[in-house]
Symmetry: C2
Subunit: 325 residues, 2 copies
């Protein structure tokens, strides 16, 4: 009899950071698959700020929440270990959204088979680069533009800077939280400018920025609004400054959005499924050719998942953070 | 020999409200028109918040400023009194951008002849409705949508609410600064909901607002971000709350722009000349048929122009404010 650990949400940390008291690791029996179902053993799952937000309350914004008392979920990659469905066999590698557990049993239609040879590591199937790709399409980055991304050494930022270059950006600028990460961005990922934001932001930005990819909000968004040229665009993807401080971090120069006719646009990756086939075609090729370098941090153990989310928000990691299960 | 009064900017009120010390009324001799020029006597000019902004410093945002020492300017309607140009004759009515003076002499190409029969009053040729029209096109208001406009009893707001209805909005909501104006919006302009914002904003808004037309910024923008549905849009046209208070008024819920994938877009009417011919065809017809009611306040005397701008910003008027010269 197979057993599986799964992480359940016990209470919602709505206006505070979560702690171990908000989650509980439960051991459950893995049932046999019914007709049409498969059993998948998870190998990797994505650690991202979304997990924190889904622990809180997203009901107002039309994005699904974790349910209190139910297992949490997230992007994951696993191996089929038992199948009662046509089309999937033991040994197949699948992408799905049932992270935060060792095993999952569900209808085969919930799993998407991937080609393990596509990327150097199975973890890379965790939609590496997809959010950056979608954001750059929403921002419509064009040939010759100047591009700035905050949290540039994170999972989204490392990709956004490199993909912006491939979209034609002629100058790529990134902010991050340590001098070491800034050096990595310049030396390993080809950023033209990368800096530690603790030293200030504005002096590193030109005054004719075309596009800002916002993962930080707060002082970053304010500095970027000042730096954007008339008709410049910002795509809003994350607000780690506010999440970290627990306080609203409002840009005080919102009138410049009118004066400069800026466009600020929030986006959510899964609103743009039309882009996924193009991404699936382009991105692996970029990785294979070395045009995109994957930066990744692997953390071990389901029991360390929540800590990894918190450390991610504290800026402790480099690149995309993956939990090995 | 003809003389003309003109209002010149003497000093820039950059971080304060302007006073009479910032402007000076000068009497100048009106020269004879050179070949290709006409002499125009101004009849009406537009009073709008833009005059305040042009007294300050717009150099960073690619919108022309008033020059210190030179006459101010704004949209105006006048009558040709002398012509040395083909195509314009004494008695012709023209629209132009040489307000803040009694007479102007310039090349005939700077004046656009209008049909005086088009509107009930010559003042209505001062681009009444144009900013609202452009903003609604930028916002792409569609059939059946819920629409909210702030400063709804102002020159832009009165038009935006009515034109939104003509664009198909099924519910039109406006905020204003007195109960009397709110009643006027409901009873004379057909707003479904209109309220005095001093009583609070949020409780008057639905939680599935489609479009917000922002003339106020600050607490209005914050309330609207909370009220917008996922994928809702805001067009940012003005920030009278901040202009009035002299302090930055930042919306504290900017993270909701991400969560709800909102689009916030600043716009400037004269970036959209492609819409002007359509406006020129549609708008006079709406007025003629009574589908759009024009709300207008006329102030007399060039010497009162600056006071009128300040009173406008204080919310003292109803509808579009026009200076009769």
């Amino acid at each position: 009899m197979r057993t599986s650990r799964e992480m359940r949400l016990i209470s919602r940390p709505v206006e505070r950071m979560p702690s171990d008291d908000d989650v509980k690791m439960i051991k459950v029996v893995v049932p046999d698959p019914a007709a049409g179902q498969v059993v998948v053993r998870n190998l990797f799952m994505s650690i991202d700020p979304g997990s924190l937000l889904r622990m809180r309350d997203l009901s107002k914004v039309d994005i699904p929440n974790f349910e209190v008392g139910a297992p949490m979920w997230s992007d994951a990659v696993g191996e089929v270990v038992e199948s009662a469905a046509a089309g999937l066999s033991p040994g197949d590698i699948v992408w799905h959204r049932y992270g935060w557990r060792d095993y999952v049993v569900a209808d085969a239609s919930h799993f998407h088979q991937v080609d393990p040879a596509l990327y150097p590591s199975l973890s890379h199937h965790l939609s590496f680069g997809l959010t950056a790709y979608v954001g750059l399409h929403v921002a419509k980055v064009r040939q010759g533009e100047t591009f700035f991304v905050s949290s540039a050494a994170g999972g989204v930022g490392t990709m956004a800077g490199q993909v912006a270059r491939l979209c034609g950006a002629s100058r790529v600028i990134g902010s991050t939280g340590t001098p070491d990460k800034a050096r990595y961005l310049r030396e390993s990922l080809g950023f033209d400018v990368a800096f530690d934001y603790h030293d200030g932001i504005r002096q590193h930005l030109p005054d004719d920025l075309d596009v800002y990819f916002d993962n930080a909000g707060g002082s970053h968004l304010e500095a970027a609004i000042d730096a954007l040229r008339p008709h410049g665009r910002a795509v809003l993807c994350g607000g780690v400054e506010e999440i970290r401080s627990g306080e609203p971090r409002a840009p005080r120069n919102i009138l410049s959005v009118i004066g400069k006719r800026l466009k600020l646009q929030g986006f959510y990756t899964f609103d743009h499924p039309d882009l996924f086939p193009r991404f699936a075609e382009e991105f692996p090729r970029w990785v294979r050719r070395g045009e995109v370098v994957i930066a990744e941090t692997i953390v071990d153990g389901l029991e360390n998942g929540l800590t990894a989310v918190l450390n991610l928000l504290r800026g402790r990691y480099l690149g995309k953070v993956v939990l090995r299960i």
